[in-house]
């Protein structure tokens, strides 16, 4: 009876402990010991067993409070332990690497040739890259000029392409409706008039326009002609819509721009992502651990240490490269952001309360803006490409996925990961 009461209390308490099974068991048996000792002490003083049990339990107080306190302490202990172990193993690794480098005079010579091999490997890939090997990213951007948007829907892109057709336009006091119909027909696109919007500013399809323009892209012809009426156009679902700037302003669309060339980063390295780099570094860590823990009888300590040093040096290399690459990319992106948002309709970007936004992913810019701004962004990016010219190819930082030991996607390159680490791949 009374033992049942013990067990009930202890079971309740144990169930409230946020601990592992064995820790829970340990706490319960420590407390059980106390309860039993207390009860035998009290009964020895002539107190009835039942009452003794009740008193012993009540001295422990509320099970929930006690369990909460004990769990909190265990958690604190666990956290300290993890911290110590982490600090400890880092210290051991650092000490090991340091010891090897100091005590082993050829260590540096041993590593150097491997690095040379790694660089040679990367250089080979570089050459292949210039020959435009088809890869995943290459395919996306293959038909795109530098800085062109790649994220438009196919129909919108088609329409945009047709808007670049060279056009001659000579109209005098022609109704707008006739002019846009004729221009659209020539270019093979549909041009509509947003009647409601035009009505709100006192125009209609009958409003007359005069233009005399030659050898200009249709987009420019439209823009110049509409500017006189303080109108504009947008591309929506592959159709050119003549409307007012107010309406156009509200029509935001998202486009993706490939800016890898402008940023001086190879398209190929945009395939690199944090997960892949982390995996590559993780692989070296595993190699290092397995080298250090599975030394075979036949291997001399020197050989094992030599292999460990190679792995450690590769890891260091990868981490350095990652830092270089990501900081180069971040600062290039930052200045590109400043150029775009500072020169193209600065008041339309969200950082000063406008509707437009700009984000980046790898080496792509994702811009949510009006077509007018998109058009200017594209023009500016193309201008930058032209200005930077062919130097781009040579001025790129010589970093690629290979620098992180990441194998390219099949078909991209036959190149092997940077640096052969003694058959640990």
């Amino acid at each position: 009876m009374s033992d049942r009461e013990f067990e009930n209390y202890l079971t309740l308490l144990a169930s409230l402990l946020r601990l592992s099974g064995s820790q829970r068991e340990a706490v319960a048996s420590e407390l059980r010991d106390h309860l039993e000792e207390r009860v035998s002490h009290l009964t020895a003083r002539g107190i009835a067993r039942e009452e003794a049990v009740g008193r012993a339990i009540s001295e422990f107080g509320d099970a929930a409070r006690l369990a909460g306190e004990l769990s909190k302490i265990a958690e604190l202990k666990r956290r300290r332990w993890i911290m110590r172990v982490t600090t400890g193993s880092l210290a051991v690794t650092a000490a090991l690497v340091l010891a090897v480098f100091t005590l082993w005079p050829d260590a540096r010579h041993g590593v150097a040739p491997e690095q040379a091999v790694a660089q040679e490997g990367a250089a080979e890939v570089e050459v292949v890259e210039e020959g435009k090997v088809p890869g995943v990213v290459e395919q996306i951007v293959s038909d795109q000029a530098c800085g062109r948007s790649v994220g438009l829907s196919r129909r919108d892109r088609e329409t945009q392409r047709k808007l670049e057709t060279t056009t001659n336009a000579f109209y005098e006091d022609e109704p707008l409706r006739n002019v846009v119909r004729a221009l659209g027909k020539d270019a093979g696109i549909q041009v509509l008039i947003d009647k409601a919007a035009l009505d709100s500013v006192g125009y209609s399809g009958e409003t007359t326009v005069s233009v005399d323009l030659q050898d200009l892209p249709l987009s420019n012809v439209l823009r110049i002609m509409l500017r006189d009426l303080q109108l504009t156009y947008i591309i929506k679902d592959g159709v050119v819509v003549i409307t007012t700037p107010d309406v156009a302003e509200q029509e935001l669309s998202t486009r993706i721009y490939d800016v890898s060339d402008i940023m001086g980063v190879q398209a190929g390295s945009s395939e690199m992502d944090a997960a892949a780099v982390a995996a590559a570094i993780g692989k070296r860590t595993n190699n290092l651990i397995s080298i250090l823990t599975s030394k075979k009888e036949s291997q001399s300590t020197e050989v094992v240490l030599r292999q460990a040093v190679l792995q450690a040096a590769e890891m260091q290399n990868m981490i350095d490269n990652l830092k270089k690459w990501s900081s180069a990319r971040d600062s290039a992106m930052d200045s590109l952001f400043d150029v775009l948002t500072g020169t193209i309709e600065p008041e339309t970007w969200e950082e000063i309360g406008g509707p437009g936004s700009i984000r980046w992913y790898r080496t792509y810019l994702i811009i949510h803006q009006t077509d007018r701004v998109h058009h200017q962004v594209e023009a500016l990016l193309e201008g930058m490409c032209t200005a930077m010219g062919d130097r781009l190819g040579k001025a790129r930082p010589e970093l690629s996925a290979e620098d992180f030991g990441i194998e390219k996607t099949p078909g991209t390159t036959g190149g092997r990961g940077g640096g052969g680490g003694g058959g640990f791949y």
Binding site: D33, H34, L66, I73
Partner: protein
Amino acid sequence: MAVRNKADLLRGNLDLMVLSVLRKERLYGYLIQQRLATASGGRVNVQAGTLYPLLHRLEADKLIRSSWDDSTGRRRKWYELTAHGQRQLVRQAHAWREHADCLRTMLAPVLRLSSQ
């Protein structure tokens, strides 16, 4: 009221008291509770619900360490001071004497007055 204040005063120094009863011997929880009572002349009665969290906390702080053994015929969790605990005990005992001396000096006139 007076008793309540006394309990508060004692509770603030329980850590030090527990360390002091473990100074010379290894004890398990129940015995620690007993020793606290006897060593304080019956003044310190720590409830089990207070004692065990306190012991676990001192262990987490590495002032004491525990081990299980059944030398008494029962499997029990025994606590003992660590070297760190030993040093802390000495250091805090000295700090306490300073504190007590200071209070005694300052409160001496009050005590003289009230006893007259």
